[in-house]
């Protein structure tokens, strides 16, 4: 593909099977304290490649 470069991202539809362990951070409490985005959270289960 010359015009499109696909970045390596976690496949959300695959995470339906692997995910849901519930061990990651559950609120904004230990960070900004005023809003919760999840994008900046790390998953506890998937190992860094």
């Amino acid at each position: 593909m010359t015009r499109i470069v696909t970045v390596n991202t976690r496949d959300l539809s695959k995470s339906v099977k692997e995910g849901g362990c519930g061990e990651c951070q559950t609120s904004c409490q230990s960070a900004c304290k005023t809003s919760c985005g999840v994008a900046n959270q790390a998953c506890e289960k998937v190992e860094k490649k």
Partner: protein, 456 residues
């Protein structure tokens, strides 16, 4: 659903439901943007009209691009369908168990910041300190109700938690003494205004606290506008050296320098850069939580200024990264390959279900921002949750249940936002805070741009 946007020389395509991200050239950008609602022939004509004078654009090239798009579609990386509706409904019925507590160990403060959502630390109620006995019972309550969760989080908050420092230390020791046997791993964190930092605090926190949140608003004039002591003197000169010492001894453990910006410093990027120049590398800066009639509240006129500020911040971060002088900004941290799974992305904040705030007297609230509002009192650490209707209400809200999130391309980054923001904006926890959404969406665009710039 896709979201296509440009950031300077970058063309970025986000495929919402697969989470895929593509960097594309101008031609592919236009083709993908039109792909779903424009007939192919028409796209071809339009592209040839616009780019026909370029060597690399002709009918064959355009066909090849169509082919690539179809291939990505086949692989589920472009125009992926939304398959998560059922998961979202199941999540609202889940039997949640507790994972995190915010311990309000001190409803009192040694600063008098006029914008404080905790109303100078006492949350519009009595002043008070949490006793060790109450804190101990809260930790037991967390463990008893934590079900399958192994990682538990406890944040020491206030008011100002260092005003009850001895109890904080005792509670950490207590937690450590029982976690193993209970099969749990407790992560302690602390949020402080810095006034009470001593060597003892630094050493203990650097040993025991998984994260510390250090409140500083940036430049001296910004910080001292609101962050003043009881006599009205600014805190900057006292806290900055303490924070610098704290952070320099923290090693590789995480921390955040956390500021608040208001209507008075919509040029908050200067404050972020000031903190970076002071040597702090993990930064966060949050829009003030204020009622619309407060002079510090952000206005509609501020909005474009703030959005442009986020872009300036992104450019500055890219530049500093290249110079080897980078820093992180909480809202621009994205873990693309190991980020949260779809369950987390849909359910988002666990306030009221997995996360509760505990007052100095042991009363339970859905989160630190609801403390002091009687309507949101859920029970206490002795008798447990009494207001189960309220808990269910919190379990119902996610980015699929909120009407306002349906068409939002950022929903799987945001997961429906903050219940407290929604409550303050709309009087209900199940709405959205549109102003915050606008900020959020721009931050995600900037975050992606910074991230992709680092990968280049």
């Amino acid at each position: 659903m896709i979201h296509c946007f440009k950031f300077d020389d970058k063309n970025i395509v986000l495929d919402v439901y697969s989470g895929s991200i593509h960097m594309v050239d101008d031609v592919a950008f236009d083709i993908i943007s039109m792909y779903e609602d424009t007939p192919r022939d028409e796209i071809k004509t339009l592209i040839l009209e616009k780019y026909g004078d370029r060597d690399d654009v002709n009918e064959d090239e355009i066909e090849e691009c169509f082919g690539d798009i179809e291939e990505l579609k086949e692989q589920g990386k472009l125009f992926a369908p939304d398959k998560y509706e059922k998961i979202a409904i199941d999540l609202t019925k889940k039997n949640y168990t507790l994972k995190a507590l915010c311990l309000h160990v001190a409803h009192t403060c040694n600063l008098n910041c006029s914008y404080c959502f905790a109303a100078q630390g006492n949350f519009h109620g009595e002043r008070g300190l949490m006793s060790f006995e109450t804190g101990k019972r809260a930790i037991d309550f967390l463990i008893e109700n934590s079900g399958y969760h192994k990682n538990l989080d406890i944040d020491f908050f206030g008011g100002e938690p260092l005003m009850n420092w001895e109890v904080v230390k005792q509670l950490v020791k207590y937690g450590r003494s029982i976690e193993k046997e209970a099969g749990k791993n407790i992560r302690f964190t602390l949020t402080t205004n810095g006034i009470g930092i001593t060597d003892d605090v630094i050493d203990f926190c650097n040993e025991e606290m998984h994260n510390v949140v250090l409140s500083l608003d940036g430049r001296k004039e910004t910080n001292d506008r609101f962050r003043v002591d009881l006599k009205g003197n600014g805190s900057y000169d006292t806290i900055v050296p303490k924070f610098q010492k704290f952070v320099s001894r923290r090693g590789n453990k995480s921390y955040y320098m956390r500021g608040t910006f208001t209507h008075f410093n919509t040029d908050f990027v200067e404050d972020i850069l000031h903190m970076a120049d002071l040597g702090f590398k993990e930064l966060s800066m949050e829009p003030v939580v204020a009622s619309p009639d407060s002079p510090s509240a952000l206005t509609q006129e501020d909005l474009p200024v703030i959005l442009a500020g986020y872009e300036r911040l992104a450019r500055e971060m890219m530049k500093r990264n290249k110079e080897g002088n980078g820093f992180t900004f909480y809202h621009y941290m994205l873990d693309l390959d190991c980020g949260p799974c779809i369950y987390k992305r849909i359910s988002g904040c666990g306030a009221g279900t997995e996360y509760l705030a505990v007052t100095p007297w042991g009363d339970l609230y859905p989160c630190h921002q609801f403390v002091g509002d009687d309507k949101f009192k859920m029970g206490n650490i002795y008798d447990g949750i009494k207001n189960t209707d309220l808990r269910n209400e919190f379990a119902q809200v996610n980015c699929y249940s909120r009407e306002g999130c349906k068409e939002c391309w950022a929903k799987l980054f945001c997961s429906g936002g903050c219940a407290a923001n929604s409550y303050h904006a709309q009087g209900s926890i199940s709405g959205i805070y549109e102003y915050g959404c606008e900020l959020f969406r721009r931050r995600i665009e900037c975050a992606l741009a910074v991230k992709l710039d680092n990968l280049e």
